[in-house]
C-alpha cells in the first residue's frame, strides 16, 4: 500500500523539472551520445591492438590528466555555487563564482597547450598511430567544447552584471549544465586515454 503523497502536482513537477532550459539538455544528450560512440570506437580499436594502445598510453603523463580533472571539477563546483547564489537572487555572488569558474577553467587550456606542445615536440602527432589519432581527435573535439564553454561563461557573467530574474537564472543553469557536460566528458576521457588497461 502506498503512503498518501503530501506533495502537490505542481510541487512534484517543479522537483522533477530539469534545471535551465530543457532544449539545452537535448543538445547535451545528443552530444554525449556522439562521444559515447567515439568511446566505443576507441574501445574496439583497443581490443584489436592492445599492445599499441598500452605502449602509446605510456607516453602520456597521467599527472597532467589528473591535474586537468581537478581543474574542471573545481570549476564545476564554482558553477554549482553560482547557481545556488542565483537561486537566492544573490546575483553578484553568482557572477563572482562564474568568473572564478572561467578563470580556473582556463588552467585546463594551459595544461592542454603544454601537453600538446610536449607531444608534438617529441614527434608524436595525429598520424603516429591509431591511439594518438584518437587522442588528438577526441581531446581536440573536447577542447573545442571547452572553448565554447568558456565563451558561454563570459556571456553568462555579462548577463549576471544586469540580471533579469528568472530569465538570467535559466540562462545560468543552462550554462552550468553545459559546463558540467564538458567536465563529465573529460571524466571519461581521462581514464580511457591515460589509465585504462594499464601502461607498458
Amino acid at each position: 500500500m502506498h503512503a498518501p503523497s503530501t506533495m502537490s502536482a505542481d510541487a512534484r513537477k517543479k522537483t522533477l523539472a530539469l534545471p535551465g532550459d530543457e532544449g539545452v539538455f537535448f543538445f547535451i544528450t545528443a552530444d554525449m551520445a556522439m562521444f559515447a560512440l567515439f568511446f566505443l570506437v576507441f574501445m574496439v580499436g583497443q581490443a584489436q591492438a592492445p599492445d599499441i594502445y598500452r605502449a602509446s598510453r605510456a607516453a602520456l603523463d597521467p599527472a597532467l590528466g589528473l591535474l586537468n580533472t581537478l581543474i574542471l571539477a573545481t570549476s564545476g563546483w564554482l558553477m554549482v555555487r553560482a547557481v545556488e547564489a542565483a537561486r537566492r537572487e544573490q546575483w553578484s555572488a553568482a557572477r563572482r563564482n562564474v568568473i572564478a569558474a572561467a578563470l580556473v577553467g582556463l588552467g585546463f587550456a594551459a595544461t592542454k597547450a603544454f601537453e600538446y606542445h610536449a607531444k608534438i615536440s617529441h614527434g608524436i602527432t595525429l598520424n603516429t598511430n591509431e591511439f594518438f589519432t584518437y587522442y588528438y581527435a577526441f581531446t581536440g573535439l573536447h577542447f573545442f567544447h571547452f572553448v565554447i564553454g568558456v565563451l558561454v561563461l563570459a556571456i553568462t557573467q555579462a548577463k549576471l552584471a544586469a540580471p533579469e530574474g528568472e530569465k538570467t537564472r535559466i540562462w545560468l543553469e543552462s550554462a552550468a549544465a553545459y559546463w558540467h557536460m564538458v567536465d563529465l566528458l573529460w571524466m571519461v576521457l581521462f581514464p580511457m586515454l591515460y589509465l585504462a588497461g594499464g601502461t607498458a
Binding site: G23, F26, F27, A30, D31, T133, L141, I148
Partner: protein, 242 residues
C-alpha cells in the same frame, strides 16, 4: 476590427512547394549523388588509385547521370532555405539577422555541392584519357571540398536553431528539441576538420565517424526540418484566415 495579417505574401502553395524542396534535394542527393556516384559510402582515402579509376571508367554514364542530376537539383537546397526563411520571418519578425544567416547558409551550401559534383562529372567525362592518379586526385578534390565546406551549412543550422528559439508562441513552430538539434548538427560538423588528415580509420572520408555518423545526422536533418516547416506553413495559413 480584424487584425492585419502578419504576412503580405499569402502564396502558401508556393511556400509549401519550396519547403518540399528539402525532401526533393535529399532524395536526389542520396540516389544520384550517393548511389550512382559511388558516394554511399565513398571510396576510402587509402583505396588504390586503380580501383577509383576503374569505377569511373566502368560506370562513366552512371556517374555522369548522377552528377548531372546532383548539379541540377543542388539549387533545391537554397529553395528549401528560402521557405524556412519565410516561416522565420513570420515567427520572429521580418528582416531578423538570424533569418538572413539561415537563408544565406542554405544558399551558399549549394556552391560546394555544385562544384564538387562538377569534379566528379569531370572525372567521368573522359576517364579513358586520364591516368589513375589523375582520376584519384579529382575524386579526392571533390571529397575534400564537400566535407570541408561544412561551415556554410553550419551557418544555416545555427541561424535556424537560434532563430526559432526566439519564437515566443505558446506552441512554437519548431519545438525546442528541433532547434537544439539544428544547433548541435552544425556544431558537430566541426569533426569534418579531421578528414584531410586521414586516409583510413574512423576519421577518413568513409569512416564511421566522419561519414556514417556525420552524414546520418545530416540526412535526418532535412526531413525533420521539412516536416516542421510544412506544419508551420499550415498554421500560418490558418492564423491568417486564408
Amino acid at each position: 476590427m480584424a487584425s492585419a495579417p502578419m504576412t503580405e505574401d499569402n502564396s502558401y502553395g508556393a511556400w509549401k512547394f519550396c519547403a518540399w524542396n528539402g525532401m526533393i534535394f535529399m532524395a536526389v542527393f542520396m540516389y544520384f549523388w550517393g548511389w550512382l556516384g559511388h558516394n554511399l559510402p565513398p571510396f576510402a582515402g587509402d583505396t588504390p588509385a586503380s580501383e577509383v579509376a576503374a569505377y569511373f571508367r566502368d560506370h562513366r554514364d552512371a556517374v555522369r547521370l548522377g552528377m548531372v542530376m546532383s548539379m541540377t537539383f543542388a539549387v533545391s537546397y537554397a529553395v528549401w532555405g528560402i521557405a524556412i526563411g519565410k516561416v522565420m520571418d513570420y515567427a520572429i519578425g521580418r528582416g531578423h539577422i538570424l533569418t538572413d544567416l539561415q537563408v544565406w547558409g542554405a544558399g551558399l551550401t549549394v556552391v560546394p555541392i555544385l562544384v564538387s559534383s562538377s569534379f566528379w562529372l569531370l572525372g567521368s567525362y573522359r576517364p579513358e584519357a586520364l591516368d589513375d592518379t589523375t582520376l584519384q586526385m579529382i575524386y579526392d578534390a571533390a571529397w575534400l571540398l564537400i566535407d570541408l565546406a561544412y561551415a556554410v551549412t553550419s551557418v544555416q543550422m545555427f541561424g535556424l536553431g537560434f532563430g526559432f528559439l526566439r519564437d515566443k508562441r505558446a506552441e512554437p513552430f519548431f519545438p525546442k528539441w528541433v532547434c537544439w538539434y539544428s544547433i548541435w548538427v552544425g556544431f558537430m560538423f566541426v569533426a569534418e576538420c579531421f578528414m584531410p588528415f586521414f586516409k583510413g580509420g574512423a576519421f577518413n572520408r568513409s569512416g564511421i565517424l566522419n561519414y556514417w555518423i556525420e552524414f546520418s545526422i545530416f540526412f535526418a536533418y532535412a526531413p525533420i526540418i521539412t516536416w516542421y516547416s510544412l506544419k508551420a506553413i499550415g498554421r500560418i495559413r490558418v492564423e491568417n484566415g486564408d
